[in-house]
Symmetry: C2
Subunit: 556 residues, 2 copies
Amino acid sequence: MASQPESSLPERPKDERDVEGAAPSKNALKKAAKEKEKAEKAAKRQQQEQAEKDKAAATDTAAHLYGPISYTSPTTPPGQYFEDLGDLNAAEENKKVTVQARVHSTRKQSAKLSFLVIGEGDHTIQAVVAEGGGQGISRQMVKWCGGINTESIVRITGLVKTPFEEIKSTSITKYELHVEEIFMVSGAPEQMPIQRKDCNQPPPGEEEGDVEKEGVINVGLKARLDNRVISLRAPAQQAIIDLQSEVSFLFAEYMRKHKFKLIQPSYMAGAATEGGAGVFEIKYFDTKAYLTQSPQFFKQMAIAGDMKRVCINGPVFRAENSNTKRHLTEFTGLDFEMTIMNHYHEVLSFGEKLMISIIRALQTREECQHLVNIVKKAGYPEAGNFQLPPGDEAVRITFAEAKKLLKESGYEVGEDEHKDIDTAQEKALGAIIAEKHRTDFYTIDKYPRTLRPFYTHPDPTNPALTNSYDFFMRGEEIMSGAQRLHNYSELCQSMRDKGLDPLSEGFKHYTDAFKFGCPPHGGGGLGLNRIVQYFLGLNNIREATLFPRDPGRLAP
Amino acid sequence: MASQPESSLPERPKDERDVEGAAPSKNALKKAAKEKEKAEKAAKRQQQEQAEKDKAAATDTAAHLYGPISYTSPTTPPGQYFEDLGDLNAAEENKKVTVQARVHSTRKQSAKLSFLVIGEGDHTIQAVVAEGGGQGISRQMVKWCGGINTESIVRITGLVKTPFEEIKSTSITKYELHVEEIFMVSGAPEQMPIQRKDCNQPPPGEEEGDVEKEGVINVGLKARLDNRVISLRAPAQQAIIDLQSEVSFLFAEYMRKHKFKLIQPSYMAGAATEGGAGVFEIKYFDTKAYLTQSPQFFKQMAIAGDMKRVCINGPVFRAENSNTKRHLTEFTGLDFEMTIMNHYHEVLSFGEKLMISIIRALQTREECQHLVNIVKKAGYPEAGNFQLPPGDEAVRITFAEAKKLLKESGYEVGEDEHKDIDTAQEKALGAIIAEKHRTDFYTIDKYPRTLRPFYTHPDPTNPALTNSYDFFMRGEEIMSGAQRLHNYSELCQSMRDKGLDPLSEGFKHYTDAFKFGCPPHGGGGLGLNRIVQYFLGLNNIREATLFPRDPGRLAP
């Protein structure tokens, strides 16, 4: 008799302290001792099981056809390998194939017959284990197969067969797999902390815990993130992360085509950049360093070094203690910076075209649409309905026009023309523009100087305004950008106007870069996670992040 | 008379303390006050100069054709824009063009005639300013042009003309530019801390300072890095960084083609990973966090979450106080991890093909070869001579074979078969293999268990060895990789064997990931900077890094 996979039963962490980095307590030491005892018991049990197995094997004529995989098993030659389960759709009937996949469910029909559903990604197929089938399947083998824990990974060699009738419960409907050999590659425990199938739909809104509705469990976001290796197996959750990967690749493709260089900034600096607020401090040997808040300074230095067009795909760190649905302490930035020949709208237009090109690709490339459909099918209400402007011509309004639109719709925007639009108003503006222009993507140009950082270039025709812009998707900001000050004395003056010292340790290396001639330039920083979040209409940025970090989360 | 560009004369930092993040001292405050005074004086001077200019303009009929650029200048319509100076090669004679470029040199031939060499990247062209030419060039304008500081950026509108004889001192030899208008976009000071032209050749070996040889100054590596925005303008230095960008793009292209997902790991973790040595500590609100030492755990968690094939292009942080030519505290990792169907050589072969594909592209794609040639022309002796194995079939030897080869060549490798090969021996091995197999790229397989980290999968046929490998270029390691332990209890046992506690805070989230079924998998982490360094045969990894970080450098 083959043994069940090894495992000490996993527990869901009891509270945050269990998860985050506390020092080992007495309890922890006790627990460790207990775990050790447990492990010893498990080893003993395994020995016993092995002995039983050996005994059973003596009477089980199929013993070599199943059980835990080892270096010497399987003993028979494999069938044709199918690395992607989905490719079985294109296999020929009666073909002998070998696949490695996860067990989604098992069903022991009788002592003579077991069924398994095995899957990979969003592809699933039924596997049949019948006594006397294959190379002589035994009852013991049928029983063992019917008892495999879900989430275990098995390796099956078998024949592709047309079932008596189309199978409705699997994605591959026209074929089933007649098992000849089945080996346990990696066992899952009987009890899982959460179930993959309970993580596919959008997580419950504000609720931290699980929600049950009409018998369907919906695992809360916190538990999904605590158990990321399980929730990630849910097709919709994986498709979201896969779409993030697509955006990264599309960004690289577009930037390369437009002669940008992908550069590597430094993420550690000797002084706190951009003013020092919201910067993480690092112990750096005998001194201190800081995680850079953005690659802004490095991009600009590359431009001053004549690199002309540079882009970055990398982490951005923000030590801001904000716990919202749209903020993280670490996110991925898609940054770019380019020289300007005549007018900063060269940069703004480039950014608009970049974003429209990426979104259009997400909507038209087959591999992307496949992923969007998985998310949509899982019940995410806004997935797949993102509107691009007619003719792919970006809708661009000024900050003043944005406020006017809001005012016309009855929003209180105040008399002060330098006052910012708040997040709720931004969202409302998104709805107004979607209604008026049939687009969920648009840009706002010409922000007041008071609202932008010191390195922003003023509007030469109106010094109260700047040559700066934000990009929006569904009324949420996904990028901030501007022409930058490239003239050393103007930059220093702008810093002094904002109460900053251009010659301080934190700024000297940056301002120095502009002393030796620097071309006019501008750029922007896109938030990768937000692009995915708002393209799909996800409620929380954490859903669009593989391993999110916020003030309360540093693991897994 | 148009004024010279603004600038307070730059100084080269006097010592390290000036550069790195010390707290503002009394001296610094005094200095700031002085700077302020200086700035005020400069402003006053500027006013005076403006007044003088206004006066001169009254008598200078060409005053609108040159001088500092402003929002309202130039006043005449521009010629056709040429964003890339190199494109002028393909322009038609007599075409009116507008370019923005850096001044490489100026020469006042006479009161009536000045020459400029302007450049962008490795393209340069001669510009001619002749009295009476264009729209009526004045003597004042000729004089002003002849006095422009090198490294200033100018905007020129003029006519493309064939010179009397081919110009030998510029890259564009068949054309010169007859200036009609010239405006100062961004001024450089008269005195630069280092000269661009003195940074093009390989920096002096071990020397920190500059070296002068036969009248040619060669700026030392430290000064080059301290003044990165200037040294980066040297064509060879920029080509090195551009090649790094090419490798990043080639990596993305290859991985996408092979169905890898580009994921974003987290770079901050609640506990020190991989044992805690060499990890930077972060102040994380009221608690502590750590910069991850590698994306290893995140890649593996993604695999446990069924992502199947993942890759990463991102920073790697190492708090190791080593000051060598091949170590940095921050470098860029090109990581990948993939599931294994049958044998870990699937991963090893994939990695070999990936590297050969990247190097082959660097050697054959026109844009890459152009960059390699710039480096070669600058005097880097090994640039362009990298050998790939015949037929692009990777040369792969075992660790035992590597030691045998060394022994045969007279190297002392010791009797202990678990003893590592040291760096010097690795380098010697590179020469032996290059001699024997005509390749500068090869891989070594099957390292002893004692030499590899706890998560490495042992060789099932010989538990003293592991399913692990390193990649080498010119005898220097550029990648370390292996099959990983995917079985929870085997992983825990391996950790205990190495004296680590799998249930400790630092490891729990990692080990937990393997409790719920994980496919066999393996991968590796390539060092982007090292790939560029050894492909070109650069002496120091800092040459292949845009903004290097080491125990003594945190800026710029």
